[in-house]
């Protein structure tokens, strides 16, 4: 039973330690720990848990004690045990080694990869083993064995042989487990297979000998010889798995070189002890299957396994030493190169995290020098804000911008590199027509790396070395990669800055909107005989529409609606100016035309050439119902009579700011309308009539629809009429996003002695009154 399990496990010896973390002992129900489970489960199931490990180690120890007892019995009887007994004993030996291998692999194998540590363990183990063996020899003297039967003469000899066997097995197992991490570094399917085959044949070659006693000649067994031969071939294959050496820094290469050499010596000496003949102390040699060695007396399979393991250890250490010796001279160069590459990578990573453009630019320009690849470097970037496509030196290290300008035609170089999209390498910079430096100016070779992010040229990174031919292919490759990352980092920094700017603008606009909202009337005036409502919906954050009311004397109400051409911020400023003019001028004149003419003169100085304001201003006398108004290019006033007729009143006039001379006054006419009680007039901005039916025909709302809607709803109070007009507009347009600012003011004259109290004018939640 034990033998079967050993065979199963042997196929995957030492390679399944990664399974361990996933199988905690308490996570496994007791039933899954049966030996009938698959290999992947067996080892963790066997080795997981401290108590179980202690138990298994005790089993190994017990096996060892029993073996010692067996040899003691033989020694006391004076003749070797029967064939059956021998097989049983050897199977016990193999089982114990297998169990010990599993336990050791579990303890040592799960460590992270490190070549020095991987060699340190077997080195120490071999040294300790050698020390133990040597002290045994010193203390116990020569081992006395019956040369004919291989039976030890006394208890002391048995102890000596057993301890030596134990030490050798331990060293062999630690050696194999440690070498495994090196051999399977950068593992492939093939390398794992070779390793397993090697272990398998080693175990098989040992198992063939289970029936052999101490004095049986192993070399008569042809199967055994064939297996050993296969194992040796596989050992040679595995001995050339040395990829880990290439990646070692110089000091570690030196350390591993020493460890390997020490390992070779220790293992050879241990083999020497193991293979040492008995009685005469004459050395039989290192041949496999040598007659009557100390280890063979203990157990032939053990001797075989240990010999092969040591042999492989020596072989592997030897190839490693040779390879290390070959690699030592290149180690310094490799280390420097690795250092440069790591520095560039670190800087590239760093530049991805820096959003401060100035700092980023300095980091990028300094990187080739900091990494030790170049002696001077500078960054020339295209500044889009300047409108010029010529790159400017933004940051430099090792040379000043003045020196750079004197020594190179960097603009042309940057342009050439950007045009080609490839790094531009001047191996002998002074010979190039774009470089003015002479030999001795410290500019022997020059590398120009184009910076392109998302197909947009950003500039170029320059790196120079004092010697000509100073940049190797891999330098160019590494710097080109760095330049690619640097360009993206710069691009990110720009986008980040743009986003910050946009957010700042959005905040400013939100403030502007709030300020502007306060420029519109917060409360509507309350006058006997008139009821009002008003609303203004901006198309953007801020708008150019304006409406306002002013009380003139006890009975008159002035009302203005204005619309600044264009939308947005500039419109909002003009709107604020219009409010100032209106608020002051409306107190000085009773004539709407005069007010608009004055407003035109006041605005003439500040309005841009292509800007104008349309406005309509009217004064309603609540006593006699006379409505006097003038129109400066604004939409006509819609007047709904109580009798059901609706007219659009269109007095002549130019927009404010369209003419700064007398033409404005000449074009402007003032009209007077006699209202009847219940008559309503509606003032609005062009955003109302120009609203499109986006879902359907694309038609404008237009004056006819407005007139129809006013006629239909004319009997409503101003607030209800306003809402009805807006909902009519919504129904027409099919959306509530306006292309233009939209303002609506409704005024109803109730008559000289209004029977009903004036509608309370309070602000709605949406800002309309």
């Amino acid at each position: 039973m034990k033998l079967e399990r050993r065979c199963n496990i042997g196929a995957g010896l030492f390679d399944t330690h990664t399974v361990r973390p996933f199988t905690q002992p308490e996570a496994l129900p007791p039933t899954v720990q049966l030996p009938s489970l698959s290999l992947a489960h067996v080892r963790p199931a066997l080795t997981a848990g401290r108590a179980r490990r202690v138990l298994l180690w005790s089993l190994v120890a017990l096996g060892f004690v029993l073996l010692v007892v067996h040899h003691v019995v033989i020694a006391s009887v004076g003749k070797p045990s029967s064939q059956t007994m021998l097989v049983l004993v050897n199977i016990g030996v193999v089982a114990c080694i297998g169990l010990a291998a599993l336990l050791l692999a579990d303890t040592l194998g799960s460590r992270s990869y490190n070549p020095v540590r991987a060699l340190w363990h077997p080195f120490i183990a071999a040294a300790l083993g050698l020390g133990t063996a040597a002290s045994l020899m010193l203390l116990g003297g020569e081992v006395d064995v019956d040369p004919a039967t291989g039976v030890p003469d006394g208890f002391g000899d048995v102890l000596q042989i057993s301890t030596l066997a134990l030490v050798e097995v331990a060293v062999a197992l630690i050696l194999l487990i440690s070498l495994r991490t090196l051999i399977l570094f950068k593992r492939t399917t093939g390398s794992v297979r070779n390793w397993r085959f090697m272990l398998g044949t080693m175990v098989a070659a040992s198992l063939v000998l289970v029936s052999d006693g101490a004095t049986d000649a192993a070399n008569e067994n042809w199967l055994h010889i064939a297996l050993v031969a296969v194992a040796v071939v596989l050992m040679v294959l595995n001995a050339f798995r040395l990829a880990w050496i290439v990646y070692l820094p110089f000091r570690q290469k030196m350390a591993t070189l020493g460890l390997c050499m020490g390992l070779i010596v220790f293992l050879a000496l241990l083999l020497d002890y193991a293979g040492r003949g008995v009685e005469t102390g004459s050395e039989i040699g290192l041949e496999f299957g040598a007659d009557l060695t100390l280890a063979a007396i203990f157990s032939q399979p053990l001797s075989q396994f240990v010999t092969m393991a040591f042999g492989f250890g020596i072989l592997y250490a030897t190839t490693a030493v040779l390879s290390l010796l070959f690699h030592l001279p290149t180690a310094a160069a490799l280390q420097q190169k690795t250092g440069e590459m790591e520095a560039l990578q670190a800087l590239a990573r760093l530049s991805g995290e820096v959003f401060d453009r100035d700092k980023l630019v300095d980091t990028i320009a300094g990187a080739p020098v900091e990494a030790g690849v170049a002696q001077a470097a500078w960054l020339a970037l295209i500044d889009e804000g300047s409108g010029s496509l010529a790159p400017r030196i933004t940051a430099a290290l090792g040379l000043t911008p003045v020196q750079i300008k004197a020594l190179t035609d960097y603009e042309v170089l940057a342009r050439d590199a950007l045009d080609s999209g490839e790094p531009l390498l001047l191996r002998q910079a002074p010979a190039d027509h774009r470089v003015r430096a002479r030999p001795g100016d410290g500019l022997g070779s020059l590398l120009v790396l184009p910076l392109v992010a998302h197909e947009e040229p950003m500039g170029a990174l320059f790196a120079t070395r004092a010697v000509s031919e100073g940049f190797e292919e891999d330098d160019v490759g590494a710097l080109a990669t760095f330049a690619g990352q640097a360009a993206l980092a710069l691009n990110n920094a720009d986008l980040f800055a743009e986003r910050l700017e946009r957010e700042r603008l959005e905040r400013e606009l939100a403030i502007a909107r709030e300020v502007q909202r306060r420029l519109l009337p917060q409360n509507l005036p309350e006058l006997d005989g008139v009821s009002l409502s008003a609303t203004s919906v901006p198309a953007q954050e801020v708008c150019g529409d304006y409406y306002d009311f002013v009380r003139i004397g006890p009975h008159c109400l002035g009302v203005i609606v204005g619309d600044v051409s264009g939308k947005g911020t500039s419109a909002a400023f003009y709107m604020a100016e219009l409010k100032g003019i209106f608020q002051s001028a409306s107190r000085l004149t009773q004539s709407p035309a005069e007010l608009l003419a004055q407003a035109n003169e006041a605005l003439a100085g500040s309005l841009g050439k292509n800007a104008f304001i349309t406005a309509v201003y009217g004064i309603l006398n609540t006593e006699d119902g006379v409505f006097t108004f003038a129109r400066a290019g604004h939409c006509p006033v819609a007047l709904a009579r109580a009798d059901g007729t609706v007219s659009l009143l269109r007095a002549g006039g130019l927009g404010l700011g369209m003419d700064r001379g007398p033409l404005f006054r000449r074009a402007l006419t003032e009209e007077q309308i006699q209202l009847q009680p219940g008559d309503t007039f509606v003032l609005y901005s062009d955003g109302l009539v120009e609203t499109r039916d986006r879902g359907g025909t694309g038609d404008e709302y237009g004056y006819e629809r407005l007139a129809d809607a006013v006629a239909k709803h004319r009997t409503l109070e101003p607030k209800a009429l306003r809402d009805a007009l807006l909902s009519d507009l919504y129904n027409f347009a099919g959306h509530d996003v306006w292309g233009d600012d939209l303002t609506l003011v409704v005024v109803k004259w109730d008559g000289p002695s209004a029977p009903t109290p004036i509608e309370t004018a309070t602000l709605d939640a949406d800002g309309s009154a």
């Binding site: 051409s565 264009g566 841009g608 050439k609 006039g653 062009d686």
Partner: protein
Amino acid sequence: MSSFSVTFRTPDEHVCVLDLKGELDAHTSGELEAAFQKCIDDQRPRIIVHGGDLQYISSAGLGVFMAYIEEVREQGGDIKIAALQPRVYNVFDLLGFPVLFDITDSEAEAVERFNADAA
């Protein structure tokens, strides 16, 4: 969304006809500005804006006329607006454009006016 185009025509060596097509608003007014500027740069200040295919004009579009009229007149030329559709004409009219600009029914009429001005 809204499409707009300006095309140049020079029926004779004195006038420059700009055919407007589509919707002239804040987004497209730059094209008309560029067209006016080109006429000024080419020393062809006698400009006829043919609005037969103009579907819509916003206040920003109207502002372009305001912005260039002074400079064109200083050069001895004028901007005359011809063949507007009634709805578009209404927008010009409300704003008082007929007071400031020659607005004619047809391009031929505008050319005649130029010739009359020159005479």
